[in-house]
Each structure stands twice: as C-alpha cells, then as structure tokens.
C-alpha cells in the first residue's frame, strides 16, 4: 500500500508538523499523506520524540495543588465525549483526515465547476493557508501557474504529470516560489488531488486570471 509512493514530505514540513507550528491547511495535507505513507509517518513520530525529549529537559513550571485535584476530578467524574470517534465510513479515495473535513466520503464532497471540466471544493480551515480538493478530468491540464508562496499537491486518485515528474496516489508535490508548472492529468483516469497553498497562485494568461476569483485562491 505504501511502497509505491515516490514523492514525500520535506524534513522542514515534518518538523513543523511535529512541533505544531504549521497552518491548519498544511497540517491537513500532511495528516493525509502520512495516512497513506508509513515512511513519513515514522519520520513524523521520530520528530515528535524530539519534542518529548525537549519536554523532559526544559525547566518546568510549578503546578498548583488545585490543578491536580481538578485533574483527579476530571478522571473520576468528567464526561468523556466519545474519544473523538470518527464517524465517516471508510473511503477508497479520501483518507480519514479528509473524511473528517468533508464530513463524509467522496460522495459528500460539494464540488463546484471552475471551467474546462475541472471541479473544486474548498475545505474550511484557518485563513493562513487554503486547502481544496481538485477534480481534474482525464487528460486535462490545470492552467500554467506560478506561486508567490508554497503549493503542496497530494494525489488521491489517478495521476498527473508536470515538467518535473509524474505523481500518483499518495505522492505529494512540493512546489516553491518561482516555479512555473502545468500539471496534466493522465489520460486513462480522472484525477483527484488535495491542493494546499499558503499564498495566492499567479496564473499566466487572461483566461486563468479571470478564473482566479472563482477558484477562490
């Protein structure tokens, strides 16, 4: 299941995820990738061990007696809300964190057409970065665009290719500033991706620029 993934997270993203300093949308794409990739999940857990080791070593802050009695009260009497039970049924395309954000399976995604057969669904996250699901019909190209920030793209179904490489389910592409690329979906299958940007995209050409308000990016 995980052996065919060729494009992974960077150490910088992994460390930021472990430390808890990333924007929500970036956390979402990382949680989705490590749901499909044990290599990166092990990396994340190793970096979390750094957090644990530091917690053991830094100077501690004195805690009041009331804090302990309050905690004891919580474990004895606290209503424990079903331990974050996941509700959505399994889905062959959406890993659990995306099902949580969609509020269901792929059938529940609220797609909106954005032209040329491409559909998207913006997922609600904090505003520092944007997460959206993209549906790209087989053989279709997403307009040539550059970035003023970082763009992360995780393939969930099908595959796409751009100037750099080919990306299939589980692969994540990390596109940085100044990188121009034109992702094209494989002809054999429609492609579904999760795309996260931490700054607006810059499209070349008039049509894509007009589309930008609709793409909400």
């Amino acid at each position: 299941m995980t052996h065919s993934i060729n494009h992974h997270l960077s150490e910088k993203l992994i460390a930021g995820y472990a430390a808890g300093t990333l924007p929500e949308a970036v956390n979402l794409i990382i949680a989705s990738h490590i749901s499909l990739c044990d290599t990166c999940r092990a990396e994340v857990e190793a970096h979390e061990a750094v957090g644990g080791a530091i917690m053991e070593r830094v100077e501690s802050a004195e805690v009041s007696e009331a804090c302990l009695s309050g905690a004891l009260d919580l474990i004895r009497n606290g209503a424990w809300s079903a331990l974050d039970q996941r509700v959505a049924a399994p889905d062959p395309v959406l890993p659990a964190p995306l099902r949580d954000y969609v509020g269901g399976t792929l059938d529940d995604v609220n797609w909106r057409p954005v032209g040329m057969g491409v559909k998207q669904a913006v997922l609600e996250t904090s505003s520092e970065a944007t997460a959206r699901l993209l549906y790209i019909p087989a053989g279709t190209a997403v307009p040539d665009h550059g970035h003023s920030g970082m763009e992360l793209t995780l393939v969930l179904k099908g595959a796409f290719s751009d100037e750099l490489d080919r990306f299939a389910r589980g692969d994540i592409e990390i596109a940085h500033e100044d990188m121009q690329h034109t992702p094209i979906a494989d002809v054999s299958e429609d492609c579904i991706c999760l795309a996260v940007t931490d700054a607006p995209l810059k499209f070349k050409g008039l049509l894509p620029r007009l589309m930008q308000p609709f793409l909400k990016i």
Partner: protein, 220 residues
Amino acid sequence: MLGSSAPFDANDVTPVAAGVLSRGGEGMRTVGMKRVGLDTPEMTEDWVGCLVRIRDNRDEAAFVEVFEHFAPRVKAFLMRGGSDNALAEECVQEVMATVWHKSAMFDASRASVATWIFTIARNKKIDVLRKQRRPEPEDLPWGPEAEPDQADIIGLQQENRQLGEAIASLPEKQRALIEKAYFGDLSHSEIADETGLPLGTIKSRIRLALERLRHAMDNT
C-alpha cells in the same frame, strides 16, 4: 555507557544492544546530568509501567505519579506558547485527563511516554492557543493482537533516552534553536531545511513497529 561523558552519535547505537535487556535499573540511573533545575533523574522512571497500570487497573496512584512529573513540563510548554497561568493549568488538567482516558492508545513500541504526552499537549496548544482544528491522521489498529514484544518496547525507550542525551550534547546554539522550534514560537519558515538531528535509528525502529501493526491489520 549511557551516562558516560563521552559524546556519542545515536546513529551508531546498535538497536537493542545486547546489554540493554540484561541491564538492571541500577545501571541506567546515570542519565540527565546536564539538566538544569531538576532534582532527580526522572528519565529512568518506569513511565511505561505507570501507563500500563492506568490502562489495565485504572490506577490513580500511577496517574498521580505521571501527573507530578509531567504536569509541570506540560505547563511550561503551554506558557512558552503564550498561555497565562490560569489557562495553562486548565489545559494541563485536560491534557492529563486525556492521558488517563486514552491510555489504551499509547503504544510503547512507537513512542516514549514523554513523546506521547508531548503530542497531546501540542494538540491542546493548537486547539486552545492557536484556535485551530487539528487534523488527525488515519488511526492504526491497536489492540491486544498487535501487542508489541517487550524487546521492541525496551529498545524504543532506550533510543528515546539516547536521543535526549544527543540533544543535550548539541552545541548550545543549535540546541537552543531546536528548543525554540518545539517550545517557542518559531514559525515553520524559520525551521531549518535539515535539522541535523540524529534520528536514524529511532526512525527505523518506529518504521518496524508500523509494519508490525499493518501486518496485524492484514491478518484480522
């Protein structure tokens, strides 16, 4: 060997060194000499055992032990993240109550107790201080049929101690930066592309634990 003053590279440590299994608690009571403001070498305490007592016996005495050691650390973490005293203590209570309620989720072949509690505290910080939802990765199956070997647990806990030592022996400047990344408010763009931390062995050990879980999942 663990507590010796000679610097070491955690990457060079053989997983489950022959000495680890046979060595008693006494021989391990030498770590943590460099730490500031702490009274006892707590890293040698049997926190995994406490978690098992909480999980299996709902043992409040074990909970109090864990609380007394970790609550002040969790509080420091939250206050470095910008919380005031009252909010920090409220969050500490909830973090520690989560430890109690989710003790069955703790996997000692993948994390030390300190690491596990750190992740709970980190999630609480994202939730309360950064006011964001925290996306959770897909759960891995975790039940009696996937119970890890004692050797795997000891090995992982050992490597966590060595990682702690390795961090302690980093040059002051580098260690301060890593502490700030995890405990302060360093943004992700300020984190170095390569942290240079010696995580090789711990990573492969966690990887093996994940494979064991996947295997257990395939067989059910």
